[in-house]
Amino acid sequence: MEHIVIIGNGISGVTAARHIRKQADSSQKKITLISAEADYFFSRTALMYVYMGHMRWWDIEPYEKYFWEKNDFNLKNGYVENVDTAAKTLHFAEGDTLSYDTLIIASGSTTATFGWKGLELEGVQGLVTKQDLEALEKNAPNKQECPKAVIIGGGLIGVELAEMLRTRDIDVTFLVRENAFWTSALPKFEAELLSQHIESHHVDLRHNTELDEILGDENGRVRGVKITTGETLECNLVCIATGVKPAISFLQNSKIETDKGVLVNRKLETNIQNVYAIGDCAQQREPIGNRPPVEAVWYTGRMMGETVAQTICGTPWEYNPGPWFNSAKFFDIEYQTYGWVQPARRRKDFENQFHWKSADEKQFVTIAYHTESRKFLGINTFGIRMKHKTFDMWLREERDVDYVVKHLKHANFDPEFYRRFEKEIQKEFYKNEKNVII
């Protein structure tokens, strides 16, 4: 019987295990999931809701306990220290070993840091793992013990941390290197509106500001940060939210080839036979379309899991994700994106962007299209929900922007009775596009 061992019980590893089990029962394949982080799979993107008191820990576990027994998944709590690919054996920090026939590396991400001084101080942390959440509960239980916090890095984790800490009334200073929030992914039009929204939640948002060093006290606890302008900010907590990187340090001494992440081909195979890598820790040798070679996104992990399971079950399959999409929520503003709307630094000359915002600025939209061919490239919507199915179809059919704008109402996914903005958007679009025949 083949023993499939999966390092990591996050969305990638669990999806792979489920899809293998769908095709092969436990008499054919034994499946073991390893994690040093948590006994059961949980939704990493939901960590924030536990700290905010919206849910308890077990509410963010997608499967009930019986699920693991029913599917005959062996769960092992342990930290893999070394992978011996020649002997097909894993060595654990706890001292024991485990042999495998097929290995899937789905070890995820860890906080990316940039060599600042003071990272080792108590009260400095990221927010990626369950342990990070526990640390935050200890470092910032309330306003009395933690009156002030500084968040470094203007991205998704940063804004989540700001929202979390504000629910406990902790003063938050949010350092963003760029001149508006998340301009590394969003056009400036949107980034600026989001910056305003974040500030309206009483977050001290500092644009164009970078961390110089983290300052500690005599007890090895953080007491403040020095920023590049030379100013010192007093604080009790420093949150590093400058992105994530593949968590693959345990592969250092193995024969598995790595770069930023574990290098894989389109079939998610590493350089070693019967060893695969999926999810946040995998790095495509050749990027796929506009996608970065390392994608730390919930659903890409899931899709890689779905794909690798086919290969392992005898139907070799290439990872071939469909049109890009994603979503997030910034305090009260929901965000969805379908196709590519590029930020300034990646935008090519042919990409034209149409912006629209509602009168109260609670809804805003950017539509990207090719200047000459008028091909629809992508859409960002804020405060308006869109239907994935419709945009996926339009992107695959390579519709032009005029078609998309005209049929926008078919893609609406807002709850019933919500105010609709399609007419306003169309009017504005046609006003800007005098050459378009209505």
Binding site: E318, G322, R396, P415
Partner: protein
């Protein structure tokens, strides 16, 4: 991991003042409970209700209006009241005690049967006189407080979800139906001497709607009463299935229903406490459908009992009519002569034919052979008052169409048996019920078989056999008895176990422990019937949005019906569950815009995907079709 969580004390100065005002209102009620004589009841009552309303509304305004529009679930699991802490138990116990007093010991609330009310009930007398013209009862007090709760907490809910127009409109709807249909209209009807009827309270939720006393009440109220009764029957057989087909059961459960109304407003802070485990779902299915069986059998038995002996065709020598007068009006079936002979053999002292339609001549008895007792024809029009008196066992004098004499008097105390024949016969009724149930059962087994899980099929067959068996047994055994129980006893037991214990004490009293929809989910037979229609015969579903789900669990956590919504969403499967009441909160709390409540074509309404949208198209079709 146990996160203790220490959120800031969220209650601000305004909220403290508002709490104090609300508590003063409650204190007045408490003072009246202990029979302290308050000099000006009207003033104190308005002061009390006003303070409670102002306190609640001000508290909510101070809680939500200064904040951004959006989801307000911060600290829900840290607050004692909303996380089964100390205050939750205090509130749960107080509510439970209130319900116990309400149902079984109204005298402690001050109810006096013959005489002036005391205590808290007497405090509500002025309002009761104002609305229905009579003194208050414990139910009037309850109705007033219930309505006040839905209105005040409804406003709170609207402010909490003021970014969500679906929630706003829905809440205005439940507030309206509670105030107008559940509270004011029935009281006005009483004032107009018409039957008390909450038109939106559909059988079987309103399990007493077809009880004998209720049917009599309707029938004695003339055309309006008859229209009400017909509306009651149409509600469950026609109106309800149609609306559920188009909109799902939400049109009732979260837009109209009073139980739903309280759960959605006052119960909202407890919605997340519902049990989401698979095991809870299994218990739910058995319990709620057992209640449906119970209510169907009980109601059938009660109506069957009511219809007993009501048809003149059934008069036979065993009818036990010794020393009674007999009145009937229908000639269908046996000839007139035979009916009179049968009544005579059964011991009747005299027989009247009641001519209901003045425009047609009454039948004449051609042949009096063998008839020794008097037989007369009386006109319904001329004897209206006398008939009413005779029905009540009082002495009555009938004007008759006879050459010999022009009136006949029935002495006080003589029992008069009426065979008014305006109703279906008991045969027709029982067979009607059996045919209806068989049609529904047969239709499901023929056309919806593939949508039922194995245990659901066994359950359906088992229950069908049991119900039909009981009905046949009831029909063929001594009339009106179900096994060893009298129909009215069955109704009493249903009222005690389901009506009072389940829907009241457990359903509302335990809000802070089991969540706000325990009754709706585990006990309500109406919800089960609507759910059955919703699952198998409706355009309603919650659509999921391709691959955007991140399995965060907000939807499941805040589902008051305990549906594990994310289990469907993360598979890209639409949610078509019989228990879903369509409150829309799963969609509201979703941070990624994955869920949408919709009515749409039935085609492709339920489909799961192993591989979700967003991945390789070929892989999706390869895996999903395998």
């Amino acid at each position: 991991m146990s996160l203790t969580g220490e959120p800031p004390k969220t209650i601000n100065t305004q909220q403290k003042v508002a709490t104090a005002i609300g508590l003063i209102g409650l204190a007045i009620l408490l003072v009246s409970l202990f029979n302290v004589e308050l000099p000006n009841k009207t003033l104190w009552l308005w002061l009390s209700l006003g303070s409670i309303a102002v306190g609640t509304i001000w508290f909510s305004a101070a809680a939500y209006l200064p904040k951004h529009e959006g989801i307000k679930n911060d600290g829900v699991y840290f607050k004692s009241l909303s996380s089964r802490g100390f205050w939750a138990w205090v509130l749960g116990i107080l509510l439970t005690l209130f319900y116990v007093a309400l149902y079984w010991f109204p005298q402690y609330l001050g109810l006096v049967q013959d005489g002036d009310n005391r205590g808290i009930i007497s405090l509500f007398d002025p309002l009761s006189y104002l609305i229905n013209g009579g003194p208050a009862s414990q139910w009037f007090v309850y109705g007033t407080l219930y309505t006040l709760a839905i209105l005040a907490f409804g406003l709170k809910f609207i402010w909490k979800y003021r970014h969500n127009k679906y929630e706003i409109i829905r809440t205005i709807s439940v507030m309206f139906f509670q105030l107008a249909f559940a509270f004011l209209i029935p009281e006005f009807l009483v004032r107009l001497n018409l039957p008390y009827y909450d038109l939106k309270n559909v059988w079987p939720l309103n399990y007493e709607l077809f009880a004998g006393y209720k049917i009599n009440e309707f029938l004695s109220a003339g055309d309006i009463g008859l229209i009400m009764l017909i509306f009651g029957v149409l509600s469950i057989l026609v109106i309800t299935p149609l609306l559920t087909y188009f909109y799902g059961k939400r049109w009732y459960c979260s837009w109209v229903c009073g139980c739903g109304g309280l759960a959605e407003t006052a119960g909202d802070p407890f919605r997340h406490l519902s049990d989401k485990r698979m095991s809870a779902w299994k218990v739910e299915r058995w319990v709620v459908h057992s209640v449906v069986v119970f209510v169907v059998v009980m109601t059938t038995a009660v109506v069957f009992d009511y219809l007993r002996n009501n048809e003149s065709t059934n008069i036979s020598e065993w009818s036990q009519l010794e020393n009674k007068s007999v009145v009937f009006s229908e000639l269908e079936g046996k000839p007139l002569h035979d009916k009179i002979i049968a009544a005579q053999k059964a011991g009747a002292t005299q027989v009247f034919y009641l001519n209901e339609d003045a425009s047609t001549p009454p039948p004449t008895l051609e042949n009096r052979e063998g008839i020794t007792i008097p037989f007369e024809t009386i006109s319904a029009l001329e004897n209206e008052v006398a008939i009413e008196r005779a029905k009540n066992g009082q002495s009555a004098t009938f004007l008759i169409d006879s050459p010999a004499t022009d009136r006949i008097t029935i002495e006080n105390g003589t029992e008069t048996v009426f065979y008014d024949d305006t109703w279906v016969t008991k045969e027709q009724f029982v067979w009607g019920v059996i045919i209806l149930l068989t049609l529904v059962f047969g239709w499901v087994m023929l056309f919806r078989r593939e949508q039922l899980a194995k245990d659901a099929k066994y359950g359906a067959i088992g229950y069908f056999v049991i119900v039909i068996g009981i009905l046949l047994f009831t029909y063929f055994s001594s009339p009106g008895k179900l096994f060893f129980f009298e129909a009215y006893k069955l109704r009493q037991w249903y009222g005690f176990l389901i009506g009072a214990m389940f829907s009241g004490v457990i359903g509302v009293g335990f809000y802070p422990i089991f969540g706000s929809r325990v009754w709706c989910r585990f006990g309500c037979p109406m919800a089960a019937i609507l759910g059955f229609q919703q699952r198998l015969f409706s355009r309603f579903r919650i659509t999921t949005n391709g691959g955007q789900c991140i399995s965060c669990g907000n939807c499941s956590t805040y589902c008051e019906m305990g549906i594990d919504v994310k289990a469907y969403a993360q598979k890209g499967e639409n949610i078509v569950r019989s228990s879903c009441v369509g409150c829309g909160i799963c969609s509201a709390v979703c941070p990624r815009g994955v869920l949408k409540l919709e009515n749409g074509p039935r085609e492709g309404r339920i489909e799961g995907n192993d591989v979700l949208l967003g991945n390789d198209v070929d892989l999706m079709s390869y895996v999903n079709k395998r």
